[in-house]
Each structure stands twice: as structure tokens, then as C-alpha cells.
Symmetry: C2
Amino acid sequence: MEPEQKRREMEQALRTAGYRITAQRKAILDYLVSTLEHPGAYRIFEEVKKVQPGLSLATVYNTLQVLTRNGLIKMLTFRDDNRYEANLSFHINLICASCGKIQDFEAETHMSPEEVREQIGFEVMSYRMEYHGLCSECKSGADRKGKNKKLSSGGLSPRKES
Amino acid sequence: MEPEQKRREMEQALRTAGYRITAQRKAILDYLVSTLEHPGAYRIFEEVKKVQPGLSLATVYNTLQVLTRNGLIKMLTFRDDNRYEANLSFHINLICASCGKIQDFEAETHMSPEEVREQIGFEVMSYRMEYHGLCSECKSGADRKGKNKKLSSGGLSPRKES
DNA sequence: CTCGATGCAAACGGTTTGCATAATC
DNA sequence: GATTATGCAAACCGTTTGCATCGAG
């Protein structure tokens, strides 16, 4: 789906849910649907500020909360900061413990939400699927240096954006 | 594996890595390998304090950090507090958005770490697999009341332990 | 015109840190 | 005996909140 269209759908969903469409929210949506970056709140703040100079961090948090609570985006919690993604199609996030980059990876899985419900009565409404490790760039970098750098936090959170 | 044996293996791993085995750490390990609860730091503090009255929260955090960084336990980050689990075998966590309970669910998946590496060069070292939704108890409870309670955070974090 | 959203700054709370003391190896 | 771990309290920092003002509907 084109970003443009997706943003309009999200706006419509917000309107329908009784929220107002402000310039700030438009701009935040614009950025979220156009990036593959899985940005954190502060990164979103920085980027959207380029378009909406008056923007405050509180507004970013407010909007992210609204979007998350209404299922329009997904929040990925980490030790250092949380990341957000607008890609709601089923995929696995590949999270590099070295550079913090997150890439999406479409994949099948045997245990679909339907199967889980049928087998044990757990009603799946959302999911989180991640592999933590080294992206191909960081892997070859580590190989070249011949280092065995210890991964922070057992690879459970991406490195803090600097 | 029996908890007793598992605890000793973890102790050995710590010793080998150059860490000292204190009464506090022993007690924390004891608790972690014996529970299915996926407790948060504070819960661990409360529980282990029953056995080690002098225990401080800082020690709990210190130990959890050591264990996590050495891959002996897994940290699951959430908005409100983080949870820890000693079960490192491949499984999916079923997280109830209503009561916050987390249960393990062994499941197959098509995309094994090996396949990920082969297909796109991402070197998997760890993973996180979750389904968020309603456990069977909460589901039937909601049905009985006929309510349509809105899920906080889009079901992305378990409810805070109260 | 009304009520929700924004921006600012202060408050919050889980986690980390500094340091003197205690305990492991 | 040397060095790491503990406990206490203060610091940290991402996120939330209170409130006066602004602006969408």
C-alpha cells in the first residue's frame, strides 16, 4: 500500500474514533508511514520537527499513545527506548544488537493465531515476533575485525540511538 | 530439567565467567528456576526477600543484569515493568492483556534461526516470540460480563502487577 | 462556541549508579 | 588479603501529567 493512501486511512480511522486531525498528527502519520526505520519517540520528534517546527515531545508521545491504543501502529518496548512501526502485516522483526537497526521480514509460521485459539483457548489479538542478532553488515564487520564483542543485554534490546 | 539441577548449572556458568556465588544470587536463581510466573524485578525482590530478608532491590537488578548479559535468563521488556524468564527453550509467550499473566507455549515455526541466516544473512542469537490477547480465563470472564473492555496499549504490554 | 489537542515544565517511576561496608575466593 | 557484591540513597532518563492556551469541528 502506498504511504499516501495508508496515511489517509489512518486519519479516517482516527476521525471515526472521535479524534481530531491536527497538523501535528498529520505530520507524525506522514513520517510513520513513510519510514522503514522503526523510530523511537525522540527520533520521531526530531524528524517531524523539520516539518512542524513548533512540535513538542509531549505531543509526539500523546499521538503515539493514541495510535497505539487504537491499533494503528505497534509499539516495540526495549530497555533503552521504545520503537514504533506502522507495518501491521504479519512479519518478524530482525533486530541487530550491534547497530540497533530493525528490519522487517515476512515469514510464515505454523502457529497462526487461529491455531493458538483452537488449541489452548488463548484469544490472540496482537503479536510480537523478533529475532535478535547481527545484521549482515555488522556480521561482516565483526568478521573483518576478528573481534568477539560481547552483546549488551544478551541481544534483547537494540543499541540506544546516539 | 529439574529446577535443582538447572540452578546448579547456572551457578557453574557464573563461576566460570568469574562471578561470585553469594547467598543472594543463589536465592534469586532458586526462585527464577522454580517459577513459571515470568516475574518482574520487584516481584522477584518480594519473593526472594522471604528467604533472604536483608536483600535489596539493587542487588536484584544487579543479578538480573548479570544473568541477562550472560544469556542465562531472558528479559522481556514492557511499558510498565520488565519480566524475566529462565526457560530458554524455544517457545512462544502468550501474554494476557487483561490479567498480565504470561504462559509459555511450545510451538514449531517455519522460520528457524538457521533458515533466517541462510536466506538473508541475519545471524540470529536470540529471539522473542509473543502473542498478546486474552487468556482463556479472562476471555470467559469477559464473555460472562458481556463487556467489550478496551485493551490498554493495544495489548502490547501486560497490565502492571498491582 | 465547545471541547479536545498542544506546548511547556514539573512530576513520575522503574532502573542505574556511587560509595562505604561486607563477604567471596 | 584482594577484589567483587551488597545495601542504601541519590541520580537518571524516558515517559506521563497538569494546566493555560490554541484550534479543529
